[in-house]
């Protein structure tokens, strides 16, 4: 009697053969004590494997399963919370419709009217100062506020640049420097203040330095 291949018997024992193959092997096994024994041994081995698979392995440093389970559970919670926190930052950008052309033109027109009205309402001296300051910003790429007139030696000058803010008076200078940052934003105001706003590349922290000049 020709026995089925060992591999066939192994698959048959676990129910992993097709219908025709199952019928063919079952017919042989029913009449062959040797193959019956083989099938039974394979099934016994499978049963033993399932029973033993529930055994916990030796855990390192006498760490009990309960302790390890607590540790794993805690880490799962941290992982889930971290995932949720990251997901908040990864939310897709708002899908609000962009400003339409008509609205943009309207806004532009309103801004122009406001600028003209503001300029015409300024006293001529202030308008000149503003014009001079804007010219300096354009040509020197720094923000400068001059308290009155040109930068005479006895005048107070508040100056802001990408490296810091300086106050100059009577030949003396007080500087408020900040770390070099590519994203520094320099601002000045007509009231005699200068500011620098920069972002720390490592921490993302935003710092704003603002220096005001107040007449005593």
């Amino acid at each position: 009697m020709k026995h089925p291949a060992e591999v066939q018997i192994a698959l048959f024992a676990g129910g992993d053969v097709g219908r025709w193959e199952r019928w063919r092997v079952a017919r042989h096994v029913a009449r062959c004590a040797e193959c019956q024994h083989e099938v039974q041994s394979l099934r016994d081995a499978g049963t033993q494997l399932r029973e033993l698979s529930g055994e916990m392995p030796d855990l390192p440093n006498a760490l009990g399963w309960n302790r390890l389970a607590q540790e794993i559970t805690g880490n799962i919670r941290v992982g889930l919370a971290a995932g949720e926190a990251i997901a908040l930052f990864d939310k897709p950008a708002s899908t609000k419709p962009r400003l339409g052309w008509n609205a943009a033109l309207l806004l532009l027109g309103a801004t122009a009217i406001f600028a003209i009205a503001f300029w015409s309402s300024l006293p001529p001296q202030q308008a000149e100062h503003l014009l001079a300051s804007l010219k300096r910003i354009r040509t020197e790429r720094i923000g400068t506020v001059i308290r009155s007139g040109a930068a005479a030696p006895d005048e107070v000058v508040v100056e802001a640049s990408a490296t810091g803010i300086q106050v100059k008076e009577n030949g003396r200078t007080l500087s408020l420097m900040h770390p070099r940052s590519d994203g520094a934003t320099v601002s000045i105001s007509m009231q005699g203040s200068a500011g620098v706003r920069f972002v720390d590349a490592d921490t993302g922290q935003v710092t704003t330095n603002k220096v005001y000049y107040a007449e005593q």
Binding site: D16, L52, E55, M56, I72, N75, I76, G79, A81, G83
Partner: protein
């Protein structure tokens, strides 16, 4: 807030701190119930999943990391966790996939190569009877599993311990059903021979 609290709700919600500002108490009740359900899901499955992963990767530290990874992956995909029984099955799939990916990454194991059916390397160091007496089932099992290759062990555990159909095992191991059937058959034969040798060794030893 869009979490489906009827299933396995998320831990972190957009309005998690709303209770201080007078959110309806039912919201917190639902949130706590979801948390409770999630906790139970973890505790009910933790041991089983840890053991499955451990038997595949055969290292406690790696098994711990991979178990955490598997649960996090499963609980982040709440749409797959609508019903607990399906969630349990889904978790097993994620766990075995995570372990298989780990073996692929670290051991460069190709699950689709077929191993030759060679005899296990060594005689078992102890009989199953002695192992039972000394409550060392695990040593006996681990020694038995050590005669299998990574692919045979993984296929055998998924088919005969996790009782997944061969088609699913093939899908998880990302190879053909014929290859997986070969892994399963070889693994069963090797395990049977190992157990038979153990028994013979026990009979030879004086009682």
């Amino acid at each position: 807030m869009s979490s489906a609290y009827g299933t396995l709700g998320a831990f972190v919600r957009d309005d998690a701190f709303m209770s201080d500002r007078g959110a309806p108490p039912t919201t917190d009740t639902a949130f706590l119930a979801a948390q409770e359900l999630q906790n139970r899901f973890i505790s009910d499955n933790l041991r089983r999943i840890f053991l499955l992963i451990y038997r595949i990767v055969r290292n406690v530290d790696d098994a711990q990391d991979l178990t955490q990874e598997a649960f996090i992956k499963a609980l982040q995909r709440q749409d797959q966790l609508k019903e607990l029984d399906k969630a349990t099955h889904w978790l097993s799939r994620i766990a075995s996939n995570t372990a298989i990916d780990f073996l692929r990454r670290n051991g460069k194991v190709n699950f689709c190569e077929i191993d030759t059916l060679v005899e296990p390397l060594s005689e078992p160091s102890e009989s199953p009877e002695q192992a039972v007496l000394r409550s060392e089932h695990r040593a006996y099992l681990e020694e038995g599993l050590s005669v299998l290759t990574d692919r045979e062990r993984t296929a055998l555990l998924l088919r005969d311990v996790e009782e997944l159909p061969a088609e699913l095992v093939a899908e998880q191991m990302n190879c053909s059903k014929a290859t997986v059937r070969s892994h399963i058959a070889n693994a069963r034969i090797k395990m049977k021979r190992y157990m038979e040798r153990s028994r013979r060794a026990a009979q030879r030893k004086p009682s």
